[in-house]
Homo-oligomer: 466 residues x 2
């Protein structure tokens, strides 16, 4: 799947001219623009595109794609640049299509519990807009990412155990395909058996099959009652077991987040807080008043039976908001433990029955690393992140981090898990695709080749080299 | 997408010889076998294959596919033959692969809430097996269909509003692709961002992209409390509005089924029952005891405000079972209204906000038809079925039924709905694919051509002719 074109160092003049004519001041070749669009938030090295196109409509994206197809020039889509696996880097050069400016909320339909938006709308922007109508969109990666980017990477977050991921919450997308064709993948019915599921083919394809330019997504009524609690544990295993047991008992927890002692320490520093620096769970319960109380009581009993102590309620909306603000910003808190460092966040996800032992042993394995290591998890899903706080310019640290991640991913895949629960493949996890998918990689390549025969859509991502 | 091979009238001798050597007595060319495999349960004319292969393993399916690829002979997969849209007919001839004998339940994992099964396992077989473990699989089309067939058609049923369809409940499949490659589409993690979603590409592809030979599906704990109720209404609109309002209020009803007066009449005859012959809702609530009582009370209030009367509880497990047995067998009850007739079941699904008016007007439009017409709906999803009780050999009735269905589907698509909520496309709904999907049909064709270049997998289904 090597790109069949030149690894560009400059754009063909005819292409630049065409893009300039189309976009005017929204076409940029300035170095700061290129560099700003050449990396995400993780350890991956910057690889800037030759130019940045700030787009305003589906038709504009289609026109750009047709021009790039004509010149066989790579295209890398860009939302907010919060990617953790190098999705927005341009390893083969070419142009970046920045969809961040397409951020209009087009139609909210409370009676259908859905909304149609442009891809640059961010999750906090959307939820702020919806709040007055008693509605919310639950999928919540930590970063203030765009919803288009979340769909492209099949993202999730803290609520997935109850509300699902982008896979379950995207109803339909409009996308521009590699030849400039505009497709709307589905209507707005909640279910359909009408042909191949193009929506879910594009969700998670990371801009390699098409560029998402509009989305219709599910909304939910803000629950009548929301309560949150924290609980501390003597060790990783007892904390994780508490959540696994609660899920296995069918308690519909909305959020069940694990944070290890080192993460709590980073949080205390970053937020000037005074949490106990020991394995901790953050819970949230959604439902009716009676339902929430019932759920919380059941979970508290499970926690106590597993040596949980200090089960504390978040009292009031302000404390609740603060709790989840802290959780959503763990990445930055942890990064703050070492100025100038980057966080390499691992992302395996395994069947629940395997989670406690994998997290326990991973925690033990990484405590002697030469750099700070943290661990957090959306443990209700079987998904957790080891945070490796490294200097990406230090080859020894990079080698050590690579080895930790390799070991972890291989163990997760051996347990019928996945290399990536929610961050995506990008450039960072391509090397595990064959191990995880076997003959499936050949099928993915066939699909990629059929839908993007020139290989211009986000080359160097998702699929390993032949 | 016309098949590039002969429309077979007999199999090549070398292929017959090879299949006979492979399968022995499980390879059959007898006319009763061929006819039994040549039609489903609906109005579509029988089109028998030239031979039937009763398979026992994935490897056997792969060997058959390789032989058929060599001879360019079409393959039609077959589960229980309960298809409603001609999926199991063989319009281009060829062989039928009958997966009904692959019906082993391989591994139940209560701690992961999943199970791995062969595709011929039926939903009632599975639930009978699981009951002792306190688990169940919720997706429940009316018929005693195979779970492989349900995955292939992206089926759903009465529980989808709460538990989702096959789209949400298949974790991974093993499939044989058109060249005989065996692929397992995913591990068992509850979520993954690792590459293209091959699971959901195969779910709903109706055997045209690959043949499903094993599935891992989600299970749920049997709820602590289950209660059911019926309620009657003066007209279609008030009944449907009751459900729409309940869903919009976020009440997590497990089942909300609409049945019109004529359906109730058919039920009374078939089951010797004495339901009121007026628009009726069947509800089911799942949860804790307190939660179920709370939900039911809220729904009863909504129903009363919309002129619902006679809100009655199913008391005890026996009455509850009888209620859903009646619902699941509506197809046969309705068919019984006219001996020798077939039921043409329409299957549109629309956004909830459009449902009440579409059902009201459709009900009004069809009451003067020259044959008996019924209406039932999984109204919490926006999905309903008009039952046209026709003689498929009567051209005037077929023309009348075709016109009713055409009008209904076109209106549903205009309302951003779909031609088929859960029955699939088969041969019956191909003609609506372009209207529903526009440029998406071209993308589907590209994928089909790439993954099945010889066109041997279930030709004549899903995609319209070029």
């Amino acid at each position: 799947m090597n790109a069949p074109f030149l690894n560009l160092t400059e754009l063909p003049a005819a292409l630049s001219g065409g893009l300039n004519a189309l976009l005017g001041g929204r076409f940029s070749t300035s170095l700061p623009d290129r560099e700003q669009h050449g990396r995400g938030e993780s350890y991956h090295a910057m690889m800037p595109p030759q130019a940045v196109c700030r787009v305003q409509s589906t038709e504009e994206v289609a026109a750009i794609v047709r021009l790039c197809a004509e010149h066989r020039v790579p295209i890398t889509p860009f939302g907010a640049g919060t990617s953790l696996e190098g999705h927005v880097t341009a390893p083969h050069g070419g142009i970046c299509i920045d969809l961040g400016g397409m951020n209009r909320i087009l139609t909210v339909r409370p009676e259908d519990l859905d909304v149609t938006i442009e891809p640059g709308v961010t999750r906090q922007q959307l939820n702020a807009f919806l709040r007055d109508q008693g509605l919310f969109f639950p999928v919540d990666p930590g970063a203030e990412c765009t919803i288009g980017g979340m769909a492209a990477t099949r993202a999730s977050g803290t609520n997935a155990v109850r509300y699902g991921t982008m896979r379950e919450n995207v109803i339909s997308v409009t996308a521009v395909m590699a030849d400039g064709t505009i497709v709307r993948t589905a209507g707005r019915a909640r279910k359909s058996s009408a042909g191949y599921d193009l929506t879910r083919l594009l969700v998670g394809s990371e801009g390699t099959l098409g560029i998402i330019t509009e989305l219709t997504i599910r909304l939910y009524g803000i629950p009548e009652a929301v309560s949150a609690a924290t609980c501390t544990f003597p060790d990783v295993a007892s904390a994780v077991s508490t959540v696994v047991t609660a899920i296995q008992c069918g308690i519909p927890v909305a959020r069940a987040e694990f944070l290890d002692g080192r993460t709590m320490k980073a949080i205390n520093r970053h937020f000037k807080a005074d949490f106990a620096e020991t394995p901790t769970l953050f819970f949230e319960f959604h439902g009716t008043k009676a339902g929430v109380a019932e759920q919380a009581q059941q979970v508290e009993e499970i926690a106590k039976s597993l040596n949980g102590t200090n089960f504390q309620w978040a009292s009031g909306q302000e404390e609740l908001n603060r709790l989840w603000h802290v959780r959503h910003n763990v990445h930055y808190a942890v990064q703050g433990m070492r100025p100038g460092a980057r966080v390499w966040g691992t992302d395996v996800c395994v069947p629940l029955s395997q989670l406690t032992e994998l997290m326990r042993s991973t925690h033990a394995d990484t405590q002697d690393a030469s750099f700070y290591v943290t661990m957090v998890g959306h443990v209700g899903d079987g998904n957790f992140h080891v945070g490796l706080i490294i200097d990406p310019d230090n080859p020894a640290e990079m080698a050590e981090a690579t080895a930790i991640n390799d070991r972890l991913v291989k163990r997760a895949i051996a347990l019928e898990g996945t290399a990536t629960g929610e961050h995506g493949v990008g450039t960072g996890k391509r090397k595990f695709m064959l191990l995880e998918h076997g003959t499936g990689v050949g099928i993915m390549r066939t699909i990629k080749q059929a839908l993007d025969p020139l290989g211009i859509l986000n080359p160097g991502k998702v699929l390993p080299d032949d």
